[in-house]
Amino acid sequence: MYSFEYPYILALFLLALACSWFCQEKKRAIYFPHTQLLSSLTQSSHILMNTLRVLILSTLIIGLASPIKTEQIILDNTKGHEISLILDASGSMASFDKFRIVKEIMLDFISKRTSDKLALSVFADFAYTVVPLTYDKKSVIKMLDNIEIGVAGRRKTALYEALFLSSKLFNHSKSKERVAILLTDGKNNTDSVPLEVAIERAKANKIKVYTVAVGDPRDYNAEVLNYIAKSTGAKFFAANSATSIQNIYQQIDQLEKSDININQYDQKTYYFHYPLSVALALLLIYFWRKNTWILNK
């Protein structure tokens, strides 16, 4: 983020403005005939010199205010959370525009997780990992934005496979806080991975699996989802409106707050030399224009 290290220095602009009116340079004055002709010749030079003065002063004040770019650097990654987002992309998610609503809520959730590693998996006929655990939030957001219903088939719901696959992402994890958020609107109807195997894998990798069911309660198996959540030490949520889904993600966000303050610092990149260099260059041009002994050679 760009800002000024000493923003109060910018108040000098007001002082300079007042000075340009009240503290004008007193020059020697003489009577000169036919100033009309002379003024037509000096007009462009006058404008140039005044512009140079304003630019020099502005760049100097900006340089003094020290423009900086601040970036947050996290020293200890193990203090942050590692979150795997598992999203149902089966055909049933198209009804009532659920998929779009869920995507928007998830995008908002991702933007709030400033110091966490994130992963994204989708499932339908089969499960696959879209983005493995990464700090590159921009990539996660971009990929999530591009996912459409049908990318992993339309007819089935490989829920357990998705949980298993997602749990494998944490195999080499160093973080103490490992979370998976599994969102679905249906029941598992594939037999690629048994439920117990998937839960065991999640437990082995110490992953808290929050399960979120959306839509009609008759469509999903609340017991199974609750079982998954309870077994891994997390919670089960059910929602049938956009607001309630939003609330669920907010709750998860609050439950899994990262303690990052002690592990990060602001890295400042200073840019004062750029306006100062410009000021110096303009100053040279100004003196070259003004210094009559050069021009009078």
């Binding site: 009309q36 010749l41 010199m49």
Partner: protein, 272 residues
Amino acid sequence: MMLAQEILLRAKKQVFTNKSAGELSKIRGEGLDFCEIRPYEFGDDIRKINFSASGKTGELQTNIFNENKQINVVICIMLSSSLHFGSQCLKSETIAQIIALLSCSSIKQHNQTQLVFFAKNKQKLFQLNNTGDVLRAIEAMLSWDLLNTKSDFQALNQHLLQSKKSLTFIVGDFYHNDDYSLMAHKNEINALVVRDKLEETPNFSLELDLVNPENNSTIQANMDKRLALKYYKKLKTQDDQLFSHFAKHGINSGKLYTDEDAFSKLSQILRQ
């Protein structure tokens, strides 16, 4: 600053010790100095008909003479605030010297001499019959409050059109592009442009506030060599237009700088 007395004494010395031939006017009129023969026109004096020439050509011819009787000399000073400038001496002082020289010269030749100062809403007329009158005219010139004074070309034009045909000297710095054709048609005009070299090439090598003496408005300018050159070129273009206008209408003209000897420069200009 030179005193009026000093200016007059110098002018008298230069004029009265100069042995020049009696000046003849180029104005055509009553006189003995034969000029030309031309066909008779309605209104010409029938006593001037040259019968010998008429007999040869078969149509009436009349003699034309240059006027060599006492002529009217009018010295017109175009006063303006821009005359309050000078590096060696003020332009107004140079004009005072010109007044002294022209007046003394005219009085020496027993001409009817008139001096008129033209300024906006103010005119002053002097009949110069002797050196005492010349001294008073010089004093008036030197003591004129030039600041905030504007030149009045209309008054000059009107005066010259209404008065008798005369040998006229118009003195000023001619910064305005006025039309002198009407007055030149009636009078024999000499335009004397008084300038200072520093005002034409204002290389002060300083950043200055330049005050217009006419209205006290100020402009800021870095008066370096480059600007001086640009100003000179533009002024020269204006002056070239002015002198070509003079030439077109038969006006004898010349430029006289404040650092030059007024007498010799005047002689040079008027000999043209």
